[in-house]
Structures are given as structure tokens and as C-alpha cells.
Amino acid sequence: MVLERDPALEVVDMPINMGPQHPSTHGVFRMVLVVNGEKIVDVVPHIGYMHRGGEKLMEAMDFRQGIGYCDRTEYLAQFSAELAYCLAVERLMDLQVPERAEYIRVILTEMNRLSSHFMFVGAFGIDAGVFGTSFTYAFPQREFLQEVFEEVTGDRLMYAYFRVGGLAWEVTDNFTQRVHQVLLQSQQGLKDIDDLLTKNEIFMARCQNIGRFSADQAIAAGLSGPMLRASGVPWDLRKDEPYSVYDRFNFEIPVGNYGDVYDRYLVRVEEMRQSVSIIEQALEQLPPDGPIVPEKMPRRLRTPPGEVYAKVESPRGEWGVYLVSKGGDKPYRLKMRSPSFCNLSALRDMTVGQYLADAVMILGSMDIVLCCVDR
């Protein structure tokens, strides 16, 4: 007698839907995972739930109004997005930004990098199962940084402080002291995070050797920022194609060895330390007074026809602005090359073959902002 197995008990591929409302997808992101047992066979990401046409609306507004939409598109690294847009328009108009404005821009952008990475650490801890503890440690640090932003710009989240040619207004009188204070807080926060996560054995076991991506794969997939550096490509726009005054600072580019999720975490944490160092150098070099907008600043922003691709190193990677102008005071076409979008497109290659429980970790390690993915 030949024993036959019940065909109903065979392991078959099963699709699992995640999202668009899911607590661990960092916004409204939907992915359909096809799993065989615990292994992921296929991933179909669905995006566009937050596609709200910032690019189209910016084409209908003049250059100054567009700055507000940059904030709302990349709402964790607002200053980086504003900086890229302003750089693009400045290059079209051939404006020279005063030195003091450049330094303040750098200080604020780097502080923004700190606050964005604190958000990443908090959210990533939740993805790893730390259950809110990392968030409650990281978020107060964000609040300290946001306090300074609010004192300078007047808003907690949507700053709209950078202007084409410089800054909207002068910073507060005690700006330097406040930044020093907040840097001390942030260093303490970094120490807390280190104690909580970096050397945590459970966390390490959870993160290491998942979602590995080699350097060639990362370049082909168009990754940028910490994702690319974790794969071993020492590529940082601040160093390699310096914009603003970044060529005047000494800092290191952290590079990962293995290209896994833990490397991406380590790269970001080390980047925060480098940011602290950049801010300290910038505060030393900051001219005590001087203009913050060019002297020959036109009242109405009009550009000659032309096109420009400006890029900055945002906390998530290369934030590019491809600006086409036909002349006049509005962009003719504005494309925002968002690092989240490009990084997320590699999700399928990164996740297939991994375990189901690690999919959330891999997604978390990308540090996506869904408004920035969908624009």
C-alpha cells in the first residue's frame, strides 16, 4: 500500500496584503507579499496613495511660492528640499548667495539631518520590535531641534525659511548659543540610542545579514544616500560634488561593509555624529554679521529660459531638482528626484528570498517618506 499525502496540506504560495494603512509601513504604502511558508517569493509594491501633485502645482506658482511645497513634499528634511530648489533657481538666475546665509543654511540643513535621523532611529526601533521605547527616546531630541527651528523660522514643521538668493530673515540673536545647547542634547540623545539599540544583542541579531545589497546592485538600482553608502560606495554629494560651502568642512563619510540592514542603521548613526561635527565647524566659521540676501536682489524673481539639475545630499539620499524654465516667474517643468522613490524601487530585489518578518525591517531601513515617494 502506497501512502499518499493529502494535497490540501501542501505548502502553496499565499499572497498577503499589507497596507495601505499599516502601522509599520511609515505612511500609506501598500505591498502585496507572496509567501511560501515564511519565505517571501514575490513583492508587489503599490504606491501613489499620497500622490498630490506638488510638481504640477509648483508649475502654476511663482518661484517664491514653490518653496512651501518643497517643505510639504519632504516633511522630514524640509531644509534639504528647500535648499535644492533654491540652488536650482539661483543657478538659473545666476545669483551669488552671501556667505553668512550659506553658513546658516548649512547649519540648519545639518540640524535637519539630525532630526530626520532621530525619526529614523525611533521608527526603526519600532519596526524591530522595541515597541515605542526608541521612539520615546528619539522624539524628544527632535523636539529640542524643532524648538530652534521654530525660534528661527516661526513654524514647527513647514519652515519655508530659505529664499532664492539667501534667507527670509535674520536668525535670532542667541542662535549660536541655542545651537550649541541643542547639540549637547543631541549628543546625549545619540548616547542614549547607542545604549538602547546599537550594541543591543537582540537588535543586532534582528538586523544583521538581512536585506543585503552589493555595491553593483545598489548602483544599478539607483540607490543613493545612506542606502548606497551602506553597500560600500563612498558617495556623498557634500564631499564629491560640493554645493553651498560644504567644501570648507572636514568630515568623514561612513561606509558599510556588508550592505545589510544593520549597516544602514550604523551609517545613519555615524552620519549624525558627522553632522554634529559639521555644525560645530560651521558655527566657528560663521561670519558674525553680514547680508543674508544678495545686494542686487530683484524684487520679482524672473529667470531666463534654461534648464538646470540641482542636487543636494538629503538625509535619505540625493534630492535632485530638474527645473526647466521658459523665462518668466514660473517654472515650466519641475521634477523632484526624490531619494525615497528611487530607494523604494529596489524593495523587490531586496526582499525576495528573505523571511516575512524581515520585510518590515528592510522597508524600515530604507527610511522612506511616502509624500516624497509619491510627490
Binding site: I47, G48, H51, G53, E55, K56, L57, E59, A60, R91, L92, M93, D94, L95, I219, A220, A221, G222, V233, W235, D240, E241, K296, P298, R299, R300, R302, P304, P305, G306, E307, V308, Y309, K311, E318, G320, Y322, V324, K326, G327, G328, D329, K330, Y332, R333, K335, R337, F341, C342, L344, S345, D349, D374
Partner: protein, 225 residues
Amino acid sequence: MTPPEGQEPEATSGTTPESAAASPTPEAAAEKPAKPAARAVKEAEPKEAPRVAPPPGSINEKLAAAVPGVALNAYMVPEMKGECVTVEVSRDDLTAVMTAARDDERLDLKYLRCLSGVDWQEEGLEVVYHLWSFTKKHSLQVKTRITYDDANVPSIATIYPAADWHERETRDMFGINFVGHWNLLPLLLPEDMTDHFPLRKDNPLQEIEEWQGEHLREGAGEGDE
């Protein structure tokens, strides 16, 4: 969509230095003679972006050597500050140019930075590719122009995997069909919406519905009478 030309009396950035240099007193006196000068310059303001031939030894020569026989219309825009050479190719040559750009040792442009569509209205649609080389540290901007009626471009997603989502997005927004893409489903739009192209210039912005406005208007009308 084009703003009215030559109506604003303010001086643009290009005109102010000239007028300031011409008049002996710096601020107040410069205002009055500046206005006619600004008008004159504005009329002469070019509609098209100025194009400069790239300096010898630029990347386009290497590309021409890599793909012999392909018509490359190479130029530079001064705003790019010499960092990016633009090459216009026809869509038939696009695959050959992109393959050469990635594989040729002289070019080694392994990284696709950005892919954007531009709607030039009467002049058709345009796809712009930004390439970058990590080893050679140079960049290249490739453009290809198509018409509305025949909006087909060969897909480069097999050459550059990074182009996968970019092409799907560009199809959503501009209706450019990337021939050969393995999965050209709508990405940002709902999955059944394949005939609506939001970022084209003929797609207007929607009107603001005023639900609360009805009551407000009654109150406002009384004051007017």
C-alpha cells in the same frame, strides 16, 4: 501657461548691473534710467535657452566614438555651469546610446540619476535622462523628443534597472509609452486609470468646490448692496 512678457516694470537680475554701472550715483538715480533699458533688454530676452557647443574633449566626443554613426546633437546650457553636457538623440538610437553609455569603458555611466518627462506642448514630449559615472566623475544628460501621436520610446529598464519605476511614473504623468517595459502598469495613479495624464499641460487644475461658500456669499452680498 506662459506668463505675460514685458509687463512688469521691475528690473530683472540681468539688467540691474548694467544700469547701475551706467549711472554715476548708485541707488536713487539708477532707478529712473533703468526702466526703458529694462524694457529694451526684455524684448530682446531670448525665448529659447542659449546653447553652447561643449568644449573639446568633452564627454560627447567619447560617446560619439563609442557609438559611431549615431547622430548626436550635443550642446551645453550655460546654467549647467559646465558640469553637464546634453546630447539629443532620436529614439531609434536611444537603446544603442544607453547601452554604450553604461558599458563603454571611456564613459562608464553606471548610475541613472533621474528620468523626467517634459511636455513641450506644440513641440511634443521629451524624455530626459541624467546619467552619472562614479569612477570617471562625469555626467551626461540625454534627451529624446517624440510627438503626441506617436509617444513611444524604447524602455531602458533592462539596461538601467533604476529606470523601472521612473518609466512607470512618466507613463502615468505624460502618457509616454515605454516599449519593452515588462510591467508598465500605472504606479502613482489608480490601476485602472490609463487614459488620464495629470502632468500634461492640457490637463487643467481643478476648481475649488466651495461647500461652506454658499452661506458666506449670502452674508457678503448684503454688504455689497
